[in-house]
Symmetry: C2
Subunit: 349 residues, 2 copies
């Protein structure tokens, strides 16, 4: 990437203070389970005993993929611009969920191929090209495009930080992008392609064979190395995936917590974590997708998602749902009475 980001360590003093507060609240110690861990993690991220996640953003990054020419998706590529229009019109799943959790939605064109129908005033344009190239025939994008995609994400994170963002969920839309995510996951984790490629939006057995074959050919052709995350992005990535990787790095540099969505967002996290491992301290696993490669990617990052609801939609939908659990963790942390305040006997008394 062109510019470098500086990610601070999470705050140990705040973590200790938040842990002590958790143990003083009117409940048996540990009885809120992962909600206690979440509150303490956010305290470390925000460097305060009492974290706050009122200001949330969901950023949906859209991009097209040349590899769709290989017949790897159940939907035609024209659906990418159509769904971007649906996001802008407020009719998609992520619009409904963002209203529920009180998050702002930002839709970013990172590299959509077709014309986006309807009014696009609210669209944030950071396009690096009209879709990536077919990675079975050469790199998906140039190294310069890879850098530009990451830098665009870092810059947007800076803008969100200025607006006061405390928690972000990067989502995506792009027909063919689970093929790119599987290729990235195979390279970054060393897993066999057949174990990380899934049915995406719903391809049949033959389509899955074509998808695995296309990924294997793309890796053989471009020879990406897991040590070179920019090279991996250039070889088999997507414009929206590079943008999300940059968004994550930028968010962490501003002490903004990041909720991971599904397989594609997590493949971007693999790229980001290879650029700077400190970013993982700012990540919260959101939802475990039914895509088999997602669990492999999450394990590689050491993350266990909060939810497992058999979803496989993307858009940031799993992360948006997880935001309501994170909200609960923070509200309990800040809003519950202590044993002393409520005159309740603790077990030690």
């Amino acid at each position: 990437m062109g510019k470098s980001v500086d990610i601070p360590a999470v705050d140990g003093v705040a973590i200790e203070a938040a842990t002590a507060r958790q143990n003083s609240l009117t409940k048996p110690q540990g009885s809120l389970g992962r909600l206690e861990d979440l509150a303490v993690q956010l305290a470390g991220i925000q460097a305060t005993e009492r974290p706050n996640v009122d200001r949330k953003w969901i950023i949906v990054a859209a991009g097209d993929h040349g590899v769709t020419a290989q017949g790897v998706s159940a939907f035609p590529a024209e659906v990418t611009p159509q769904m971007v229009a649906n996001f802008l019109g407020g009719g998609a799943a992520i619009n409904v969920l963002s209203r529920m959790v009180g998050a702002e939605v930002m839709i970013v064109d990172c590299g959509v191929a077709g014309e986006i129908p309807g009014p696009t005033d609210a669209l944030v344009r950071r396009s690096q090209g009209r879709g990536t190239a077919d990675f079975t025939a050469g790199p998906a994008m140039s190294l310069e495009q890879a850098d530009a995609a990451i830098d665009a994400g870092v810059a947007i994170a800076g803008e969100l930080a200025e607006k006061g963002a405390q928690l972000i969920a990067p989502g995506e839309m792009g027909i063919g992008n689970s093929t790119s995510a599987a290729a990235i996951t195979a390279v970054m984790t060393g897993a066999d392609v057949s174990t990380v490629a899934g049915r995406g939006t719903g391809i049949d057995d033959e389509g899955l064979e074509r998808k695995i074959d296309a990924i294997n050919r793309g890796i053989a052709r471009n020879k990406p190395s897991s040590e070179d995350p920019r090279g991996v992005l250039s070889a088999v990535g997507g414009f929206e995936i590079g943008f999300i990787a940059g968004l994550m790095l930028g968010a962490a540099s501003h002490r903004i917590a990041i909720v991971l969505d599904g397989y594609i967002a997590t493949s971007a996290a693999l790229i980001a974590a290879q650029i700077d491992p400190a970013v993982t301290g700012y990540m919260i696993g959101g939802h475990r997708s039914v895509e088999p490669g997602h669990t492999i990617a999450l394990d590689h990052l050491g993350l266990r998602p909060l939810l497992e609801l058999d979803m496989r939609l993307g858009e940031g939908s799993g992360a948006a749902l997880a935001m309501s659990i994170i909200d609960a963790a923070v509200n309990l942390h800040n809003g519950m009475a202590t044993f002393a305040e409520a005159s309740v006997s603790n077990r030690d008394e």
Copy 2:
């Protein structure tokens, strides 16, 4: 129980209509996973293509347990009335969560032993006695008390139905009640006591031994039969557990959906389902507790909870969190655009 309840079958026509609607929304079919199933289940429960869960109630039923004399809990019994006062004062976990999910909270004294400190104007008094008897020495309650506890729950469900309740989460508070829940689960499922007894609010190894021993002695002494749910409640149950069983039966009779909380609420569901198996069609699994017996009870009911966050608090806290997922499922079902409305190409086109 004194009065009988009549539980209607879920509505097949509404289920078909809701399924058709799900398949018309702008997402790959099935990509919202369990959220799609939830919307369809609620359509069947409410007998409408477009269910609504805006009017939610969390009912926290409190009661004390004579078996605490056997040293089965990490907390003293005086904590039950203290925590009831905390619920009434708004400082407990369930108060924070109910505000978040937009649910009304009702606190019911089903049989608390000690005096409840502070103002109790908002307390609903349906006490069947000042705590149950120690079930290692005889039945926890009389059959008349068991009937009265269930009837009180049925009656409150009727009052909630009149207020327009669409979704309820029965929660509980009662030092010692995970011992009662384990005894009920052992009897109703046939599982060995050692597999269904857990650490509750946090007892040590010796306490767990005492707990298992007390349950075994209680079952040997009272000889409850799984065919006789009232007898099981009388033998090893709790006043709040009987109340919750009645609440569930009453809710189902009024087509109100029920979210299951943790182990104690689920043990009440076992009693309710033995009284009328039709009640299970109205149940939604909320959160899987770390108590090992909870999974055994859920499996017996054929339910898979929505959440698994390592919680073990009770109060309705797991069910309250699950309400936000249920809200999302219904909002997506009703609020998303269809392929036709948004001019998005479906895979069949």
